[in-house]
Point group: C2
Chain length 334, copies 2
């Protein structure tokens, strides 16, 4: 009998005090147990890194249960079935699931979905045709409800979610304005993604630049970052503006950042609404169908930041929290 | 020919720098011009004083046009037709309108509504069966949408709006919790209005007292004050909580007060929505009918703070901004 195959995994071993660090994680090697009846084993090709994971690292009241310590860090994965004792899957199937930060995932098949890679690349099912894409779709269509001619602003505009928000807003006939960090990201947002404008928040005059980019004010805002960016955009909101609150990454590392002028909610009759996409499962099929069709027909652009090797996942994740990624952050495992 | 009748009026003559003061207002006497064809003249019996008027005193971007300087201060009024050359009105009709801070209003009849005082007292049409009542009704039913068993909190709970919010929430099967300033107001809110609990924000331990009064958290919040009260209630909100932002009186005198933890909007998936009731005219008839019926059948309690004499309106208004009123603030003119 051959030696058991080894599965490399990354565990969360401690909770951050303030900023997260690589010492919160630990790489371990675990032998793979023989597959049981009904189980399916997936060789993960891509691991998705997403800002929400920072919230799971804390033990605080949040929108999701904390990631337990000393267990495999959660996360979306895309891969290929390597062995199956489950009739619903066969070796070679392309699948996406939530198998976490590890090279192999073993499960009873629940939460594992087969995907068609003939028109959409496997990795895109973790981005524009996955959770980030559906997040963009829901926040825009379910909360902002854009009307043609309106101005829609999105922060973290070059990222996995923001890039889809702006492109869908453009498709809906809106003026799409991004906010991103650095001239290179802004150039990409305008020239490749087709936004009407993009404001570089690192240029030091956020409000003035935003004002120039939104001459008619802001009707819809898709919030990914919080803090000063939120304050600046709120000050540009038109009456009856809608704000979809998807993330506040600038406050994830322990510093709660205030909203300077909540009175604007009243004076401009704004609606601000927080959401998490897993609580709106009813819209996933429609959103995924539309997003998949846009990707397949090249009407939706996406970009990936790919880090190679499971062992580099913690560093890549910390980089994501600091905005070092450019596009959807993935870890390539194969 | 007799001397022309004199109309006493209060004008806004300067804009506040920081806190409003009596020096911003000026009492003048103006002869009444003879009535023209189509006009109707009303002897105002009651002048309504409301927090929104503070916003109109500023020249800043707000939800309404600023009150022009050197003109009669705007405001709701209830009175009796003293003379009419308009077929729609006859002498002795009871009417409500927006004739402002003056003893007589003269108009073409637009915006003037006849009211039935046989079951509802005239002054109540400026309170529970007027703009404040409809404000309560809309914020509760249109934004909070309370479900039986939920907890609804309202600030400025003994006031014209807050008192109606809590009573309607109780009628909808909710736990109604007020926030008010001082033991006497809190006692009134619980014992007379029938709220389940009331927190005295002046007692110095707002969050602890609110926590004790909302053991199951808060599902709906009707915001009248802002500032620390908003921060405390947000920290008690349950997932999917709704906040109707009707007023932020604590910030009206020039100090913008921040929201400490906007991240809660995300983590608790909250909806915050600002509104002004004049933008929802479609719901007024239904709301007024329901409120009038509740008043007529004694199912809705209300309380009034009555100041006598137009000349005392500015002082009474400044008192309202500091929470000195107890119930709906009116100025009695006759």
């Amino acid at each position: 009998m051959a030696d058991a195959q080894i599965n490399r995994q990354i565990l969360l071993v401690s909770r951050p005090q303030g900023e997260a660090s690589v010492s919160n994680f630990k790489l371990v090697e675990t032998p793979l147990a023989p597959l049981q009846d009904g189980e399916v084993r997936v060789r993960n090709h891509y691991l998705s890194l997403d800002p929400y994971m920072r919230g799971r690292m804390d033990d605080a009241k949040s929108y999701a249960a904390p990631q337990p310590l000393d267990q495999v860090m959660i996360g979306g994965t895309a891969g290929v079935v390597s062995e199956s004792r489950n009739a619903a899957f066969k070796t070679g199937d392309h699948v996406v699931g939530m198998s976490g930060w590890q090279e192999y995932g073993t499960s009873d098949g629940k939460g594992l979905n087969k995907v068609d890679t003939s028109r959409v690349p496997l990795s895109a099912y973790l981005g524009a045709v996955g959770m980030p894409g559906v997040t963009a779709w829901y926040g825009l269509n379910g909360i902002i409800e854009p009307k043609a001619g309106e101005t829609v602003v999105v922060s973290a505009a070059s990222g996995a979610v923001g890039s889809v928000v702006g492109q869908l807003a453009k498709a809906a006939g809106c003026r799409a304005v991004g906010i991103a960090g650095g001239a290179e990201k802004c150039r990409y947002v305008v020239e490749t993604l087709g936004f009407d404008a993009c404001v570089d928040y690192k240029a030091g005059k956020l409000y003035e630049d935003l004002k120039a980019a939104t001459p008619d004010g802001v009707d819809g805002y898709f919030e990914n970052v919080g803090g000063e960016v939120l304050n600046a955009v709120l000050a540009r909101m038109n009456a009856f503006g809608r704000v979809a609150v998807c993330g506040m990454i600038s406050g994830y590392n322990g510093k709660p950042l205030p909203m300077d002028a909540p009175r604007l909610i009243l004076t401009q009759r704004l609606k601000l609404q927080g959401f998490i996409v897993y609580e709106h499962l009813d819209i996933w099929p429609q959103a995924l169908k539309e997003l998949g069709e846009r990707i397949a027909t090249k009407k939706l652009h996406f970009r990936e930041s790919i880090t190679e090797g499971l062992e580099n996942a913690p560093e890549a994740f910390l980089g994501l929290l600091r905005g070092k990624n450019f596009g959807k952050q993935l870890v390539k495992l194969v």
